[in-house]
Symmetry: C2
Subunit: 599 residues, 2 copies
Amino acid sequence: MTIKDARTPASSQGEQSQGEQSQEAGKSSGWHKAYVEGSRPDLRVPVRQVHLTNGQSVTLYDTSGPYTDPLIDTDVRRGLAPLRENWIIARGDTEEYAGRPVRPEDDGIKHTAPRGGLRNLDAVFPGRPRQPRRSRDGKAVTQLAYARRGEVTPEMEYVAIRENVSPEVVREEIAAGRAVLPANVNHPEIEPMIIGKRFLVKVNANIGNSAVTSSIEEEVEKMTWATRWGADTVMDLSTGRNIHTTREWVLRNSPVPIGTVPLYQALEKVDGRAEELTWEIYKDTVIEQAEQGVDYMTVHAGVRLPYVPLTANRKTGIVSRGGSIMAAWCLAHHKESFLYENFEELCEILAAYDVTYSLGDGLRPGSIADANDEAQFAELRTLGELNTIAKRFNVQTMIEGPGHVPMHKIKENIDLQQEICDEAPFYTLGPLTTDVAPAYDHITSGIGAAMIAWWGTAMLCYVTPKEHLGLPNRDDVKTGVITYKIAAHAADLAKGHPGAQDWDDALSDARFEFRWEDQFNLALDPDTAREFHDETLPAEPAKTAHFCSMCGPKFCSMKISQDIRREHGGSRAEIEEGMALKSKEFAASGNRVYLPIAD
Amino acid sequence: MTIKDARTPASSQGEQSQGEQSQEAGKSSGWHKAYVEGSRPDLRVPVRQVHLTNGQSVTLYDTSGPYTDPLIDTDVRRGLAPLRENWIIARGDTEEYAGRPVRPEDDGIKHTAPRGGLRNLDAVFPGRPRQPRRSRDGKAVTQLAYARRGEVTPEMEYVAIRENVSPEVVREEIAAGRAVLPANVNHPEIEPMIIGKRFLVKVNANIGNSAVTSSIEEEVEKMTWATRWGADTVMDLSTGRNIHTTREWVLRNSPVPIGTVPLYQALEKVDGRAEELTWEIYKDTVIEQAEQGVDYMTVHAGVRLPYVPLTANRKTGIVSRGGSIMAAWCLAHHKESFLYENFEELCEILAAYDVTYSLGDGLRPGSIADANDEAQFAELRTLGELNTIAKRFNVQTMIEGPGHVPMHKIKENIDLQQEICDEAPFYTLGPLTTDVAPAYDHITSGIGAAMIAWWGTAMLCYVTPKEHLGLPNRDDVKTGVITYKIAAHAADLAKGHPGAQDWDDALSDARFEFRWEDQFNLALDPDTAREFHDETLPAEPAKTAHFCSMCGPKFCSMKISQDIRREHGGSRAEIEEGMALKSKEFAASGNRVYLPIAD
């Protein structure tokens, strides 16, 4: 595929391009947004085209949504255009309905408070009114159901173009349960993406206010900021006030699938008293969120009563919020988890909206000492059991993984998960490879993330520098996303993902040829790369200089390397020939000075 | 071993302590410097004792030198006390001599410039005058020679205490060539350390001015700053003016071994014209640096003429400065490398001072595309050959490794190096696992560093965020060191290094028990951990709060976990018993809700 770029038709036909057709969008410092059209005019897949100074261009995967397209007038108060709406309607298997009325307690307003009394009405999302949609007459409306029936949906074709594979490969992987395409029928704004080990490794960024700090505006900004830097999905983990309203703003403005943990909101509805949770309150919350358009939900149904004692001798007990809430509930009632007991009914609800399961690892280890213990693997076996049930209901399912794990125990995690869960996508948090570096846990976990993704994890949940310490701000979100994009891309390379190395090659070519601007523009974070270079050599001529301040002109190995090539031949082929000839002469004259030593 | 701490004799007898005896030094926000005495009063090994609020203490390895001991009055103009001087003299196998006179060109003053005309005389190190020392009457004065003769030197005993192993293990590993103890007889100021795969993974930090920027003061400050954060050795890679003088300041003030690349200074002496380099100029530079006290030297003797053509088709050619200089020399003269041809004479020189070889990988890959190629492995085989020769001369030797290597090609590097080089310590730069993240190459390389260290690399050369872009400043040095300490410690854990996990366990205990101050003080970087916590919850009571702003009080899993334990039993043993009983009741009543699905 080649993108025909309307803006610079001659110069952008680079060796890296892909895609059948494109439409110009506009330029943003060194790259511009383009689109690859699929089999129908309303199927346009965004790509990031980086324009090089040598006339070539490089096409990169783009998660930033319409915000980076200057031809699209975005407004967070209106929300994004519902790209998938016609596809969903055309299938004719869903219907609109009145939906569940929004109640004050959805936003954490206490039952006893005067109705609306504490509510910030200004915060209500002002976009067009909409009714929720769900499956009609028990129709199977999940991408898994379509894939199993042999149907390639527009969503599947969309991700096939994004991943540069055939739509049939996408369908097969979804049908086999090895990949998920999270796309709630009530979230038509998303640009479809896929999570599975045969595809590019994905990165999730967590946002969300807490009872202590952060506002709706901040969370929406963090979402667009995270996707700007490459987040493939975003989880809204809000736990404070305005949970419902914050989520509405995030969903209506998000170009990527949104995940949540419904248990958090359910707990707010019972004023934080875990023992007061009921299946009814939880179910109502799931429906509330499914109607809003949440694409995947973490469900800690694997935290079963008999497993709780297995955590008693742990160094750090239960470190998953959801896991600890469910454990507290189980012990308070001395009953099996209501999530586990009502799992089939939950499957029916999720199936009606095509919400994807993210089966939570509520008993994941929270320290090196607790890695790969009995509690963790007991839960994993239950997740395997639940995965099988979910598939019976045509619910797409991924499995969450740890946590804190030393390097030598990482592989066992992915191997066991793949075996127990029939190769369902693994979605891991890190893992952190040591406990001793609070404030640097993006790095302790980036190491583990790269390794486990190489071995098969399909999506990585990012960790920010604030992990264990506080709520991430905008800068932390960026640092977390960039670190995890590094881990994901390193894994794509190690897996030999087709075309993954083209990006590295383009950047290394630019580096060797001292095309500084190209090196910056191809970088995961062009702004910081440019800033670091300019810190010591700010002048414009330094952008074309054949050295940088790191080694200076005399010690620039790349400059010397180039000089060698220039002096000993023209093209690479010529110099190779010339040098090989000289080398042969030298070898013929006996080029060994030291003979191998026997002792 | 237990450290008897004079300051707080009752409270500091923690389960983590080690060491026979100690002497109080002074406290620095949560930890204080203590010493473990060996078999003689002048053998005192520094440790960092972290004092926990629960009355215990944790003993950590300490590289920060006398600067963190408030009882020692340090002055960079005087230099550090020569701790090893008596040990060296007592051996009676070295002698002082007049030494080579310092010449203006040693500091990069041009031959044609008026003598001293450009020299900044203020910069000359003002400390006590000293004469260099070298072996007497061809005596073998290296730690390798002593180890082979069965002698345990004070240096070996010192590192045995540091590593918590027996002196005999240290001697055996050095004798076998599997470890090096870099300790030039002219650098008596160092606190001895060891580099080998059976010991803790070490981290090197590079400093050094370039022709473009940076001053002597900055370099000395970077050295003390790097060791403050945990650098085990420092390489002075200066290439600009004042190379000799900068190195003198660095050496006289460094508590850790100092490495250099003599070729850089030699090239400055011929005004940057590689083809004008000669064996004589190089040899003179090596002697100059050996007399100053450089502990290990990178020598690119493996870049042989016949290998240069092997780099012709590379994406990024030769990226080692030393490698490119030697390649240029070989091609210009169409001759075999003078380093390779004079290697035996070089061994004799290094042996006379106990300078350790770091055999440079001048043909290391500079991009993912070039990893593990013919040029790289051809050089590695020559390094194996040179390693054998060096050992014949009793010269301690380590081998340098790449570079840019994707994850799936990393293991081959260490396996091949260990095989070819008779298990000599591997000393790798990263490796970087992708090329696409300039400004984040501490992270791209931290991933590879952790992995290769797990598999056997003995020392990691750090990479800072400025790699490929510019000269690191103080902040970059700190970020690089912390990132690499994480990689090294993660590897120590994965290798199952005895006692390595004690540190993680202590921190995780503090985390689970909401001992925030202990968590900060045990962190690799206490300052940043505290700062990040305080950003959202600055008040002092938050330091004892049972939550942080990340999740808030209601969603703190650790708090819920603790509540569970409190409500369902007292001690961990009690709760386990109580919960296990309940669990059995539950199991007896049939605790499976869903039976395994056959389909």
